[in-house]
């Protein structure tokens, strides 16, 4: 009964659908409804979007990019330049490849207002004036009008539409490791895979179509039987992973092979990154179009398109056909057409000189003019004039294909990397048995490559002689997607664009969505005509990856991005802390009112989470030597229990990082670095140890997140800590400034306490075994409630360190700031025998004349010059800049750090600062970098 329904369906909605074909891949029991330009349409499961539309009688699928000429099916493959359609929010879908699915909304592209009537097709009338690159020659004057012209040109941009709210979709990635990766699941590819697997190799077999078989799928009954047999063998074989509706998009150095997989359930596209010991390239051949006047009319198509439409999709390509055939594939198409009930108006044998010079018609083909001048009415012109070898993957691997005039196509040049093996049609022609034998030999060789033993020999495939047919006696389209004609190419060559690379750039031939797979060889042939040289001399353009376009989503994958948080992160979030993204770390910027946080630290006590502070555990008898080498100051005499501030410079004398390092035991030190510098410093230290002083005994263990770090700062910090700590006497005498102690805090042992003060207050930096971080942090707030303890964030800390005049590496220094420029004269010890960057610092001090970091205060205390405001003399002479600036809650005035030219460093000097709004204000150089408590009584208290 379904049969009758189907019959009915054929009568009404699918006039071009044939009765069941032996090799058809459609499931007539499953109808799929969709819309085509808003109107209801229908097809069967297994149809491509294009075959479903063709079955329902659609002949015009799109309009061309430049002249907006109507375009129909040409190759009925993924590469068909004429049926790139919009499917829902998915632009530029290859409708001759994409499987039909129910409910999709399919629309044509490049059409306005509609596919059938396109006003821009008026361009055709003026095409003689709009030759390739015409835009270079006009819109030149007046210059100011170019933007207007440009907007007009931009309206002609081809392609689909992306909306600002298009959903991202689910994309994915995967790594694959195999000995042999086979690109192409035709007879050669399948047998290569079987042979490689038989030799014990892990094999990945990649096929562009939804099923293995290659051209056998739409060949003779014998072909289909052979395909089925090979498919069964592959399915049964051990160690072959098959990917269908997947394509090898690129081969990169060391056989890093990219495969895009399109049929993974729930995944829009998946990028597979394959490390293959060897790559077998077996893509088969691509049929080449013929260049003649009108060759882009809907109704002119390739013999392989006919074979696919009839045999795979049971679609009747036309009613009355003329066939131009130069090879057996063309002859076979004639049989397909007859079987499909297409009237054959004439078969022209190109091998005996028959030719087509012109195709005529309006929206679709009506008539063809033959070489002898006679004309034939028809709505289908099939050409079979030759094949193109898709050598892209070999090109990526370093090969330069070589043209063989007898076979009229390019062949591998043999310069490709040794771990790449071409197979099948790429290498030559032959019977199915010969192709299979070739594939088997290549597969065995690929499996053996790299492994021990002898390489099995690979038989050479014969090359079938083929007439060299590229262009007829007339001019026609060479590049469908770019609307480039053979005339354009000849004109470009005459104009001096006389190399294939230049003509490509000037005319954009082969630059469109099909990337030259159909066009390249014809373009080269036409250029050879123009330059009066052979195709071999003209050569071919370099193919570039990817072999087929791949979505940004698949390339991005799941987009893993590291995000690091401290053990107290949840606590901060719960208290509405504003997050600050600092490299990988998310930190609390402030909890609402930074100024209040500052005041609380200055009057009571505050806690800040400084876990990201870099920490390196250094152990061994030679640690002091290491410290002496990487820091600009001295370390030999640091006592156990003491900590010291240090600055590191690169070999160019530029400030690299700073921090304090404490001595915990005879041979045990803990080094702290800036949060952002942690990784760099670790690598820097390892570099010195491994490449300069491997004889030194130093063990480096990064312990940055082994400890939750918190700074307890403020006049009441000692009291607060006193309530929690066991085993440490906090008295100023027993535990003075710049010392380190170990003890038990809130019941947690193994805590380190540094008595240091970035904020300028009495403060203790407490390092707690990380898992107990939240416990201790919360304990501090419980214990200190009556002391007014409150958290403070990075912003408050920045304000306080600025009040205190502590610089921040990377903010108050830049990529060229050497130590003396950062006002570190007091720290740098040039009498040390050696340390990183020493020579540059010796010379800097001797030469002088460098900008120097100073404290600055605007004369008007209420104006805070934005950071990066420039200090100027005269109209535009820059004599420095503000590197840090804030309103100081403590001092009630604006305070800054900044660089000034050498002649302005004297305290009291007035300098002109230009604000972002161009106002200019005077700022005064202060005596110290510190604006507050320069002598440090508070933190020493």
């Amino acid at each position: 009964m379904s049969a009758t329904r189907v019959a009915g369906a054929q009568a009404t909605s699918a006039p071009m659908r044939l009765a069941a074909q032996p090799g058809e891949v459609i499931d007539r029991s499953r109808r799929l409804a969709f819309t085509w330009n808003g109107r209801p349409a229908e097809g069967f499961a297994g149809d491509t979007i294009a075959s479903a539309l063709a079955a329902s009688g659609v002949r015009v699928f799109s309009r061309s990019f430049k002249y907006h000429k109507p375009r129909g099916l040409l190759s009925a493959t993924y590469h068909d330049p004429n049926c790139t359609l919009q499917v829902g929010d998915d632009p530029n879908v290859r409708a001759a490849h994409r499987r039909l699915s129910a409910g999709i909304a399919v629309t044509s592209e490049n059409t306005w207002p509609s596919l059938s009537f396109d006003v821009r097709s008026a361009n055709r009338l003026v095409s003689r004036f709009l030759g390739a690159g015409f835009y270079y020659k006009t819109f030149i004057k007046p210059q100011r009008l170019w933007p207007a012209y440009e907007k007009v040109l931009a309206r002609f941009a081809p392609g689909g539409i992306v909306e600002p709210d298009s959903p991202h979709g689910h994309f994915d990635k995967r790594y694959v490791h195999v000995e042999v990766c086979v690109a192409g699941g035709g007879p050669a590819g399948m047998t290569a895979a079987l042979a490689a697997a038989a030799a014990g190799a892990r094999v990945l077999l990649v096929e562009e179509e939804p099923e293995l078989g290659g051209h056998l799928r739409y060949g003779t009954d014998a072909d289909r039987a052979a395909a089925a047999e090979l498919r069964a063998a592959v399915a049964a074989a051990e160690g072959i992973e098959v990917m269908t509706d997947a394509v090898v998009t690129g081969r990169y150095d060391d056989n890093w092979v990219a495969v895009v997989q399109r049929d993974v359930p729930g995944v829009f596209e998946r990028l597979c990154k394959v490390r293959a010991r060897t790559l077998v390239v077996a893509p088969g051949l691509i049929e080449r179009p013929y260049v003649f006047e009108g060759n882009d009319l809907p109704g002119v198509m390739l013999s392989s398109a006919v074979a696919r439409l009839v045999n795979l999709y049971a679609v009747k390509p036309g009613q009355r056909a003329v066939v131009l055939s130069a090879n057996p594939e063309g002859d076979a198409a004639v049989d397909d057409l007859r079987r499909a009930g297409v009237e054959i108006a004439r078969v022209l044998d190109a091998r005996t000189g028959a030719n087509v010079v012109r195709a005529e018609g309006g929206r679709v083909l009506r008539r063809v003019e033959l070489g002898d001048g006679s004309k034939l009415d028809c709505d289908l012109l099939v050409t079979a004039v030759g094949w193109t070898a898709p050598t892209s993957l070999l090109n990526f691997a370093g090969d330069r294909p070589v043209y063989d005039p007898d076979a009229a196509r390019f062949f591998p040049g043999g310069q490709h990397a040794a771990n790449v093996f071409p197979a099948g049609g790429l290498c030559g022609d032959g019977s199915l048995d010969e192709i299979v034998a070739h594939g088997r030999a290549v597969g065995a060789a690929a499996a053996a490559a790299g492994a021990a033993g002898t390489r099995p020999p690979i038989p050479t495939l014969a090359r079938r002689p083929h007439p060299a047919l590229f262009r007829s006696t007339t001019h026609g389209t060479v590049d469908w997607s770019e609307d480039v004609s053979s005339k354009d190419l000849l004109a470009a060559a005459k104009e001096g664009y006389d190399s294939i690379e230049l003509v490509k750039r000037f005319t954009t031939v082969t630059m469109g969505p099909s990337q030259g797979k159909l066009e390249s060889v014809n373009a080269v042939a036409v250029m050879s005509e123009a330059l009066h040289q052979t195709i071999a001399e003209t050569g071919t353009t370099v193919w570039r990856p990817p072999y087929v376009p791949i979505t940004l989503g698949a390339l991005a994958g799941r987009g893993f991005e590291n995000t690091r948080v401290s053990p107290m992160h949840g606590w901060h979030v719960a208290r509405g802390a504003r997050p600050l993204v600092a490299g990988d770390w998310i930190r609390p910027d402030h909890y609402g009112d930074p100024a209040a946080e500052v005041n609380n630290v200055r009057t009571n006590v505050g806690l800040i989470d400084v876990t990201p502070l870099g920490k390196l555990d250094l152990r061994g008898p030679d640690v002091a030597k290491l410290l002496g080498l990487v820091y600009v100051n001295k370390w030999a005499k640091l006592a156990v229990g003491a900590v010291r501030y240090g600055v590191m410079c690169g070999e160019d004398g530029v400030v690299l990082d700073d921090g304090v390092t404490g001595r915990l035991g005879d041979d045990h030190y803990l080094m702290s670095t800036t949060s952002s510098g942690a990784a760099t410093v670790w690598e820097w230290v390892e570099n010195w140890l491994q490449t300069e002083h491997p004889e030194w005994q130093v063990h480096v263990t990064p312990v940055t997140t082994a400890y939750a770090s918190m700074n307890i700062a403020g006049p009441k910090s000692r009291e607060l800590l006193g309530r929690l700590i066991v085993g440490v006497d906090l008295s100023a005498e027993a535990f003075p400034y710049m010392h380190v102690r170990q003890g038990r805090v809130a019941g947690v042992n193994g805590c380190f306490l540094w008595r240091i003060g970035f904020t300028g207050e009495l403060s203790y930096e407490l390092h707690v075994p990380a898992a107990y971080g939240l416990h201790v942090w919360e304990a501090c707030f419980t214990a200190g409630a009556d002391l007014g303890v409150a958290p403070f964030g990075v912003e408050a800390q920045r304000i306080m360190r600025l009040e205190k005049g502590h610089f921040i590496v990377g903010q108050d220094t830049d990529g060229l700031t050497q130590a003396f420029g950062a006002d570190l004269d007091w720290l740098v010890k040039l009498d040390k025998d050696d340390f990183a960057g020493k020579p540059e610092l010796v010379w800097q001090q001797a030469a002088g004349g460098y900008q120097r970091l100073v404290g600055l205060q605007p004369v008007d205390p209420h104006i805070v010059p934005a950071e990066a405001s420039q200090l100027v003399e005269g109209a535009k002479t820059i004599v420095g800049r503000i590197t840090s600036s804030r309103m100081s809650p403590t001092l009630g005035r604006a305070i800054c750090l900044g660089f000034v030219a050498p002649h302005l460093t004297v305290p009291g000097t007035l300098v002109t600062c230009q604000l972002p709004d161009r106002r200019r204000i005077p700022v005064r150089v202060t005596e110290h970098l510190a604006h507050f408590d320069p002598d440090g009584e508070r933190l020493r208290g």
Binding site: K141, Q143, A556, D814, L816, A868
Partner: protein, 452 residues
């Protein structure tokens, strides 16, 4: 055409004075093509040519090598061609050869992402690139060739306060130099680029951007071809497929070059070979502080135009613009290791896609159509090396890193002036080779990361 007072700048030892001949009589190219030479391009000529179906004359002609030239320029990219063009047009020096081992504009000049801007960090950098922008603004008219300079505005995003600080720094210096650059906030960014995710929930929230209205994109090939045509019309010889295999030096002076087509005598040889710069300067024993890194780029399939500004993110190492053809053109930072390979890598497109989707999540279904790579000659301070070298007559115009194309016009103008006057123009004075040995690095180092 040049605002530079003739002969301004520092006298440069090591530039032999050359006689300035009267330009060679109007080229007789018309013989090798039936088209009238040189052609004047305009809507009208386009119409008449179309009507009569007449051929256009050659853009530039092919010549035999002369045994000697006054100036030999190595590299037929935008720098070499512009130098030749300004030598001829500004100074009447036309006995000039431009040599290239490949074809016109086949190196970095044809592989870059064609972004033009002047919003640099240091005053010397800003002045230099601003001059280039000015020249680009009038280039179509000067060359009578549409180079399609689209001043659509240039945005450099800041995702953290340190980069926001650097943006402000650049904006302030730009203001002082009279260059239109300002820092704008997320809302203003969203208006300029509606597809941008400016919400603060993202992993790399957008805190602001450096907005530079004069910045934009240009048709790079057109610039190369336009300069080539302009130079050719004035009698300069452009020799493609002519590789320099050696440089002759006698008593510390350049005397000529060896090529695959024979020897050429010349008192002045200019190195404009970008990624291959050290291979050429090694020929005369001049060591350049340059490392060659590939810089990759990619283009998507076209979609209807939706992006009308150039967008750069230094933090995410990505920059993107959309051509009038509807393709998105992407670039990133240079490859992590030195190489002369232009084969391209997969990891580049992966990183790129990941980062662009952080900025514009809705374009995930756009497809990358093609990727390629060019070679960048990177210096320690991200500034070029221009002017004289220890070998008399051997001049450098190298060290362009990722900034070369946008500097083409001003470099050509300045190098031409240096050659013609024997004095180093002020505008390139701080880019001298000696600065490295003397520890005077240029401050552009402050604004590292992606600088496009």
């Amino acid at each position: 055409m040049s605002d530079q007072p003739v002969g301004s700048g520092v006298p440069a030892r090591g530039v032999p004075a050359i006689r300035i001949p009267t330009p060679t009589a109007s080229p007789n190219g018309s013989r090798n093509t039936k088209a009238r030479y040189p052609a004047k391009y305009s809507a009208l000529s386009l119409f008449t040519h179309g009507l009569r179906g007449r051929d256009w004359p050659r853009m530039w002609r092919r010549h035999e090598l002369r045994p000697s030239y006054d100036v030999v320029i190595v590299g037929a990219g935008v720098h070499g061609l512009a130098t030749a063009y300004y030598l001829a047009s500004n100074w009447g020096i036309t006995n000039v050869a431009v040599l290239d081992k490949g074809y016109v504009g086949g190196g970095g000049s044809g592989r870059n992402t064609a972004i033009v801007r002047a919003n640099y960090l240091t005053p010397e950098g800003v002045r230099f690139y601003d001059r280039s922008v000015k020249l680009y603004e009038n280039l179509a008219a000067d060359l009578n060739f549409n180079v399609m300079y689209s001043q659509r505005g240039h945005l450099t995003l800041a995702h953290n306060d340190s980069s926001l600080r650097t943006m402000r720094w650049r904006a302030e210096v730009n203001k002082l130099e009279g260059v239109d650059t300002e820092v704008i906030g997320p809302d203003a960014i969203k208006e300029l680029v509606p597809y941008m995710d400016t919400s603060d929930e993202t992993r790399y929230p957008i805190l602001g951007a450096l907005y530079h209205p004069p910045g934009g994109i240009i048709r790079h090939d057109a610039v190369n071809w336009g300069y080539a045509r302009g130079a050719d019309i004035r009698g300069v010889h452009i020799h493609q497929e002519t590789e320099v295999t050696g440089i002759d030096v006698e008593a510390g002076r350049v005397t000529g070059v060896q090529t695959t087509r024979g020897r050429i005598a010349a008192p002045i040889v200019v190195n404009c070979t970008a990624g291959w710069a050290t291979l050429i300067s090694d020929m005369v024993g001049v060591k350049m502080p340059i490392i060659t890194h590939p810089l990759q780029a990619a283009v998507t399939e076209p979609v209807k135009v939706f992006l009308n500004a150039v967008v750069v993110s230094g933090t995410l190492h990505v920059y993107v613009s959309q051509t009038d053809r509807g393709e998105l053109v992407f670039g990133a930072s240079t490859d992590p290791y030195a190489s002369y390979s232009t084969r391209g890598s997969l990891e580049f497109t992966e990183e790129l896609a990941g980062h662009i989707l952080e900025l514009m999540p809705s374009i995930s279904k756009m497809r990358v159509l093609r990727q390629w790579a060019g070679l960048c000659d990177i210096t320690p301070d991200f500034s070029p090396i221009m002017g004289i070298t220890p070998v008399e007559g051997f001049l450098a115009d190298v060290g362009w890193g990722t900034y070369g194309f946008k500097a083409g016009p001003v470099s050509g103008e300045a190098m031409a002036e240096l050659i013609a006057t024997g004095r180093t123009p002020e505008i390139i004075a701080s880019f001298d080779l000696a600065r490295f040995a003397e520890g005077r690095l240029v401050g552009e180092k402050g604004a590292a990361a992606v600088g496009h």
